[in-house]
């Protein structure tokens, strides 16, 4: 046992636990989004996130990790196939394994973020195909650009993106917008009220996201050091400040301090502080937070002004918050702030945004033209939960069976058994 090994053990402990925390962000996101939609499609919203946990985990081992972080790639654009199937990675490479599971959680979360733009109106199978294509063609390359040390072209340009302002938030925000444009507006957009069916669930999601984000941001240091500690502090400060920013904007503009605003402000702050890492100081973090809260509070109204149905404000929060945070580092960085760094930041933001928007648009079109992306009108009106999941979110009825008499029917693959539920017998 030597010093390096003990430090490595500490790093593994840190990164593994942070990975678990980031894992929890995807269920957290599911609740954050799920509480915001109408009850008839709440389960579908939850499932859009949960299925990403399934799909991306498998793709990551198959080729995702390799395409993103293969150590031997020489391409500024994409990794190579050396890590395919994790064939040669053994338990002796503890830090690499910890890094692999940590980064996997980012790859799971990013497509899930886009589901908010598509709430209540897409086919579940279409979404599954979309996620497969999107992580492959958009996420893995972009993450390589930004994070593959000494390899990715944005990394080499000196773009500061500590934990994912570009690769995660701008990427998901631009992609979400493109997909929402392809899929079209919800029936009743701008006309029907579509109020959140469960605001405490939204806050639960926000709370879990916030908790997990410490793993996301501070964990991105990969080794627990002063940078990690500063990032943890900055994460808390920006988030707290963004809650205040959003609430104050909302109170002035709409007359109430809303719960949804507090939750949204927290997320906006978390998004905006993500790129900076320990490159800003605590006062800088507060400034980033309060600006992100107020600007995103304003930005969520863009969808009504411009008429695109980004249902749960992926653009307003993730794209705008991500861009804001990415650009502000240019000016607020404790080292090297100035026009030059700002230029680099703008380059990073713009190139990820453009690439993600265009390619996602094409992917969404492809899904729509092949297996279909948009749900049918009847499915959408009745609610996607019944249409794709054959379930109802809640049953608080007195009868304990939904006041709904139930009788057996011919199932997909079974015989009818009238008068009682059909089981797999």
């Amino acid at each position: 046992m030597n010093l390096e090994e003990v430090q490595s053990s500490t790093n593994i402990a840190y990164v593994v636990i942070c990975a678990a925390m980031v894992m929890l962000m995807t269920p957290g996101l599911a609740f954050f989004y799920g509480g915001m939609v109408r009850v008839k499609s709440a389960l579908n919203m939850l499932m859009m996130s949960f299925v990403s946990l399934g799909i991306v985990s498998v793709l990551w081992v198959l080729y995702g990790f390799s395409l993103t972080f293969s150590e031997t790639s020489t391409s500024p654009i994409l990794g190579n196939l050396d890590f395919i199937g994790f064939q040669d990675i053994t338990v002796d490479q503890g830090e690499l394994l910890a890094f692999a599971v940590f980064q996997l959680m980012f790859a799971i979360l990013t497509p899930a973020l886009m589901s908010g733009a598509l709430a209540d109106r897409v086919k579940f199978t279409g979404w599954v195909l979309f996620v497969v294509l999107w992580v492959t063609v958009v996420y893995f390359p972009v993450a390589h650009w930004v994070w593959a040390v000494d390899q990715g072209w944005l990394f080499n340009q000196g773009v500061i993106d500590f934990a994912g302002g570009t690769a995660v938030h701008i990427n998901a925000g631009a992609g979400g917008l493109a997909a929402a444009l392809v899929v079209g507006k919800r029936i009743g957009f701008k006309k029907d009220p579509m109020r959140p069916h469960n605001l405490p669930m939204v806050l639960l999601g926000a709370g879990l996201l916030w908790f997990g984000w410490f793993g996301f941001n501070a964990g991105s240091a990969l080794s627990p050091n002063g940078t990690a500690a500063m990032m943890a502090l900055n994460t808390q400060l920006a988030t707290g400040a963004a809650i205040l920013g959003w609430l104050i904007y909302e109170r002035l503009r709409h007359g109430a301090f809303t719960t949804l605003g507090a939750a949204s402000g927290a997320i906006a702050g978390l998004v905006a502080i993500t790129p900076s890492g320990a490159n800003v100081n605590p006062m800088g973090a507060i400034l980033i937070g309060v600006l992100a809260g107020a600007v995103c509070a304003w930005a969520v109204s863009l969808k009504y002004k411009l008429g695109f149905d980004d249902s749960l404000d992926v653009v307003g929060v993730h794209l705008v918050g991500g861009v804001l945070g990415t650009l502000l580092v240019g000016f607020l960085a404790t080292e090297g702030a100035g026009l030059e760094q700002f230029g680099k930041q703008a380059l990073g933001a713009a190139s990820v945004m453009a690439y993600s928007f265009v390619v996602t648009y094409l992917i969404a079109l492809l899904v729509e033209r092949t297996i279909g992306f948009r749900a049918s009108e009847d499915e959408e009106v009745a609610g996607l939960d019944l249409a794709y999941h054959a379930e109802t979110g809640y049953d608080f009825s007195q009868t304990g069976s939904g006041s709904v008499p139930v009788s057996a029917v011919p199932g997909a693959a079974g015989a009818a058994v009238t008068g009682e539920k059909k089981v797999d017998a």
Binding site: R253, T258, V300, S301
Partner: protein, 112 residues
């Protein structure tokens, strides 16, 4: 027999129940409702989208009673439910043709 229906403010339910019990009515059925009339709802705000929610929460109380008691019961309910502010609700009565107690099959007044 009459069926008296009262649509009242939720927080007056206790008073109505107590008053009816004091009067000698020993059964009633309650369900949730919403309604509007002169009293309108409130505004809600979700990420900058402001909604007017027109319907105000109400409670519906139903009392089966013999014809002779109907008028008095209406008065009891009206008095107990009143706050004097708009939205206090309505009470109405309908003529009932048959009434049965499920447990025993008794009909008419005996069913109450």
């Amino acid at each position: 027999m009459k069926l008296i229906t009262a649509v009242i403010k939720p927080h007056r339910l206790d008073e109505v129940k107590d008053a009816l019990q004091a009067f000698g009515v020993h059964g009633l059925t309650v369900s949730e409702a919403t309604g509007y009339g002169r009293q309108r709802g409130h505004t809600e705000v979700y990420r900058g989208a402001e909604y007017t929610v027109d319907l105000v929460p109400k409670v519906r109380v139903e009392i089966l009673t013999e014809d002779d008691d109907a008028e008095q019961i209406i008065d009891v309910v009206v008095k107990a439910a009143r706050t004097g502010k708009i939205g206090d609700g309505k009470v109405w009565s309908l003529p009932v043709e048959t009434t049965v107690r499920v447990r025993t099959g008794e009909r008419g007044p005996d069913a109450l």
